[in-house]
């Protein structure tokens, strides 16, 4: 704690209170001298400009992100995202815990796509331990991951429409997502933070309830996607508000370290499942959907394409599922060899990577989690200036950030 005079708490509702409320860190203009060039340039207002605080609590459902907008009338001139409102210190906690415990610490990072955020540290540990994952476990992992990808994309579509004001698609998205996560709950026991991946395999085998729910879902999955397509795709308001908004070109996308759907919507066919294959993806046939325009509408359409590809992958996995053990036998006390490992996968938001360093003991020496939402979110500062205030949320929603991952 810093040494500051201890102030007595007064409620802000107290009518006798007319004190000079001390300026705090959540006012629009920070109450300290600017620490960097960029901060000084941002907080210096020219004539007619105003700073608006799109505070950490706001109706957009990405989580607690604070954006300070510098606006001139209705046009955004510049913006400064302030992160850290959900920083939970996961990397430090992982350094103090076991290699096995890392799974449950890492799954709330990308909380709607937990399978991915659990899979990556497990893959890094497997690289350090040189563990061979049984084939059935790999197939189950792919199945669970693709199901989670579909539910995450369904939510993305719902949130994109919600941020533009449409209240119906989010209900459809949640129906889709609830059905898929009930299925995954039958498999893993949890609806959201699955805690399913283990170093060397997965936690539980496919069971009857999961398979029957999966069968029911597969029978109408494609039709449901068509439904949500007809609801939003040709909707005039949606198209007008997203087409041509937030256009990124290829060179900028690479310079801004984008990955995932925003990168593929600019035309670069970089998908970690094909560029750095892992698990059983080399044996599966699927395409990498790309779009050329690079605007929000293209990103939205790309998510729909990806859902279709995921359904195709699930189909193949179910046909090819081999028998066998679902996890390699590993000791409870895991001491990987000293070394470094970098593992990356394709999560619904982009390239999710973990750089794990081991010093030979049973605790990770450094577990660096590279979350795609964090780097994708920087593009917001590049795309929004020039557009209207209402477009800020549209652009942010189309980049699909999840604040759990952004803030770690």
């Amino acid at each position: 704690m810093t040494t500051a005079p201890k102030t007595q708490v007064r409620s802000l509702d107290d009518p006798l209170l007319m004190v000079d409320t001390p300026a705090t860190i959540y006012d629009a203009v920070p109450p300290y001298p600017p620490q960097t060039e960029r901060e000084a340039e941002f907080y210096a207002l020219r004539g007619g400009e105003m700073l608006i605080n799109l505070g950490p609590q706001h109706p957009s459902t990405h989580g607690v992100l604070r954006v300070v907008l510098k606006i001139d009338g209705e046009r955004v001139v510049d913006l400064d995202p302030v992160l850290g409102y959900l920083h939970r210190g996961v990397e430090k906690i992982c350094e103090n815990s076991d290699w096995h415990m890392v799974v449950s610490h890492c799954d709330p990072l990308e909380y709607i796509a937990s399978m991915f955020s659990e899979l990556v540290p497990v893959m890094a540990a497997e690289k350090l331990l040189d563990v061979k994952v049984p084939r059935r476990a790999d197939y189950i992992r792919v199945l669970a991951c693709e199901l989670n990808r579909i539910s995450s994309h369904a939510l993305f579509i719902g949130w994109l429409a919600l941020d533009l004001g449409g209240l119906t698609p989010i209900l459809y998205g949640f129906i889709e997502r609830d059905e898929i996560v009930e299925m995954l709950a039958a498999l893993t026991g949890q609806k959201l933070l699955f805690n399913y991946m283990r170093i060397g395999g997965v936690n539980g085998d496919l069971n009857h309830e999961f398979l029957s729910r999966l069968g029911d879902w597969m029978s109408h999955a494609a039709a449901r996607i068509e439904d949500s397509q007809t609801l939003i795709n040709e909707n005039e308001i949606f198209v007008k508000r997203t087409r041509g908004l937030g256009v990124i070109d290829r060179e900028t996308a690479l310079r801004m370290c984008l990955s995932g759907p925003p990168l593929r919507a600019t035309g670069i066919p970089y998908d970690v499942r094909r560029a750095h294959p892992y698990s059983v993806y080399p044996e599966l046939e699927f395409e990498i959907p790309t779009r050329e325009e690079g605007d929000s509408y293209a990103r939205y359409l790309l998510h729909l394409d990806e859902i279709k590809q995921s359904i195709h992958i699930i189909d193949q996995v179910l046909h090819k599922m081999p028998d066998g053990p679902i996890a390699a036998k590993l000791p409870r006390l895991l001491r990987p060899r000293p070394g470094r490992a970098f593992a990356a996968i394709e999560s619904p938001r982009g390239q999710y990577a973990v750089y794990a360093m081991s010093d030979g003991s049973d605790q990770p020496f450094r577990l660096r989690i590279h979350d795609p939402s964090y780097f994708n979110l920087q593009t917001v500062g590049l795309l929004t200036p020039g557009h209207l205030v209402a477009d800020t949320m549209a652009i942010m929603a189309s980049l699909d950030p999840i604040m759990g991952g952004v803030d770690k």
Binding site: G84, H87, C257, P277, A344, R366, R368
Partner: protein, 159 residues
């Protein structure tokens, strides 16, 4: 090509960062256009910064480790002139370790509040209830309890 267990890595010093990264990015034989990750590491005795880059000419990533940054004043040039997207990665390394990237126009704290004074991911920043000595760390206690000399003192939890 499946993901390899042994990624190629090169180690450089802080002075060589600008030249090396520019060569990797611009040289037509290398074409390392994609920056996959940038992070800081505290090895206990020194600091490091690790970049992972990828080129469409190679099947795997290249790990560039900037070694031997002094712990009391870790500085190195920023690579935001090549990848603007590395700006927040460098901010995070500054916030968590105190590593200063010269040339980054926006090097301020990103996760912690702006008036925070420590750097959380350093090895000498200990969590208030250091997990490695706490009763929750089962394996360690099992090992230490087996030898009477190393048995830990159990103190009452006061939080």
């Amino acid at each position: 090509m499946a993901q390899r267990h042994d990624t190629t890595e090169i180690r450089i010093t802080a002075g060589a960062v600008t030249d090396v990264m520019r060569t990797l990015h611009d040289d037509p034989d290398f074409r390392f256009r994609l920056l996959a990750d940038i992070c800081g590491v505290d090895t206990g005795t020194t600091m490091q910064v690790v970049y992972h880059v990828w080129s469409d000419a190679t099947p795997d990533w290249l790990r560039v480790i900037v070694v031997d940054l002094p712990r009391n004043d870790p500085r190195l040039p920023s690579i935001t002139f090549l990848w603007k997207g590395a700006e927040w990665g460098e901010r995070e390394a500054y916030d968590m370790f105190g590593i200063i990237f010269e040339g980054n126009r926006d090097l301020r704290r990103i996760y912690m509040p702006p008036d925070y004074v420590s750097f959380p991911l350093r090895k000498d920043f200990l969590l208030p209830d250091d997990a490695s000595r706490s009763p929750g760390m089962g394996i360690r206690h099992m090992e230490q309890a087996a030898s009477p000399v190393g048995a830990p003192v159990r103190k009452a939890r006061t939080d």
